[in-house]
Assembly symmetry: C2
Homo-oligomer: 208 residues x 2
DNA sequence: GTGAGCTTGTGCTTTCTTTCACAATCTCCA
DNA sequence: TGGAGATTGTGAAAGAAAGCACAAGCTCAC
């Protein structure tokens, strides 16, 4: 039963279950057992059951989990059951790749605008949005009710951009620049550190 | 003292310390205390000391850590003290962004080639390398002694690519496609799941 | 209907991480 | 040179997460 709050590792896995369930659903299956989820995700069956049990009782003994209802419930729990508007700041290489990603144009996320501070980029199109002046960010995100911001600027600019985002009413920020951002009041920040991943991989390289 | 092996969370943080130290070094400082590292990284001073203690005694009481020696030692521990060759498979949006990233052209990493299976891309340049036929991957990586592979293909292709990489002698793989890869014998895989990050951020969005 | 066969939910145990606190050590200035 | 002040390394304690095992519950075939 839902006692208290779920640990963060559980939340991370929820997203994996969701992806798994979407695929299973697309395959036309109606139910899946925790063992079936283990097979597809590599996450232990016991772990799966425990994770889900933080949020309620979704399964039927002897049968497993009904795919569609679980999909609906998990989407709700993850707050992925209504559209979220997203902006990207820093229309460089990485920003452009993300902006073009179809995952950002799904039924859940929609990319509203991209921003930059480089005059030669402002006004140009980036895929299907226009690159706007970053100084307009607070106004635009406020007006449009944007909830999520993605930072793909150089590290030096990240803190300032985060503050602009907070000013524009953005509550959650995904930061790709390799620097620590001090969260403006009321915002959550998640850092994605690609160089870190690359370096960590080296640690695990077979020692000569 | 180095008792046994360091926990994975520690290894992840090592990469952060390294980045911090590089910056501190660039600023010309000779020493830094664990408290100083906390200030810059947000990681608790006690945690810093414990992490470092897994690998040896690097600091001097009353003074802190000598920046340059620590940088050298940590680089060695992370196996970042000699150049590593890297290839990217999947010369699409994300692959192109990564290929152009200067972090991959540093003194530590060097991008050797990019691969694709799309005939209209093969033979074209991607930044300063040429896009090659993915079928040539095992031969080329073998010949060049490539140690790290990055996968930026669609999910369906990832498993096959990983196996080609293993065949080509690659030991460590960074996978950006949203799928689970079953590690070929002798390879380490790290997954970077950008959509997961975006979904998790929604969970932490303020509940209405 | 009934029993064999799965599969769940969960309390308990084990393992892994982080935090705490302090003796030991070093610096540096008077 | 000596003592005040700073900072380390680390055991011990607390806290968090994962693994385990099994009673309870559901299904389905006969
Ligand atoms: N490209 C990659 O694959 C990659 C990999 C790992 C990390 N990163 C990080 O992601 C970030 C972006 O990388 P990139 O390769 O796209 O760099 P880039 O130079 O191609 O793009 C950065 C963009 O940010 C814009 N910008 C700079 N200051 C700004 C400001 N104050 N407000 C708004 N826009 C601003 C620039 O005009 C530029 O368009 C960097 O922090 C980089 O370290 C990138
Ligand atoms: N673009 C992003 O920002 C982004 C974000 C999150 C995740 N991803 C993931 O990264 C991967 C790449 O995304 P993308 O946007 O660059 O896609 P993309 O379609 O632009 O690029 C994929 C490339 O892989 C090549 N490819 C396909 N099969 C191949 C094979 N068997 N061998 C070699 N090459 C092959 C294609 O020809 C194409 O050039 C996808 O799995 C995507 O889900 C991308």
């Amino acid at each position: 039963m839902p006692t208290g709050r779920a640990p963060e590792p559980t939340v991370l896995r929820l997203s994996i279950y969701l992806r798994c369930l979407r695929q299973v659903h697309a395959e036309g299956l109606d139910t899946i057992s925790s063992a079936g989820i283990q097979e597809r995700t590599g996450i232990t069956a016991g772990q799966v059951r425990k994770d889900l049990s933080y949020f309620g009782e979704f399964g039927k003994p002897g049968l497993g989990y009904a795919v569609e209802p679980l999909l609906t419930r998990l989407s709700h729990i993850m707050q992925l059951d209504r559209p979220r508007k997203v902006v990207i700041v820093g229309a460089g290489n990485l920003g452009a790749a993300l902006a073009g990603y179809q995952g950002l144009r799904s039924s859940i996320f929609s990319l509203v605008a991209a921003f930059d501070n480089n005059l030669s980029k402002i006004g140009r199109p980036l895929w299907d949005v226009e690159i706007k002046d970053v100084r307009e960010l607070p106004r635009i995100t406020q007006e449009q009710g944007v909830e999520i911001g993605i930072i793909t600027t150089p590290a030096e600019a990240a803190q300032g951009v985060a503050e602009l985002m907070a000013q524009g009413g953005i509550r959650s920020i995904l930061n790709f620049s390799p620097t620590r951002i001090v969260s403006p009041q009321g915002t959550t920040i998640r850092n994605v550190d690609l160089m870190k991943e690359l370096e960590v991989i080296c640690f695990y390289l077979p020692k000569p």
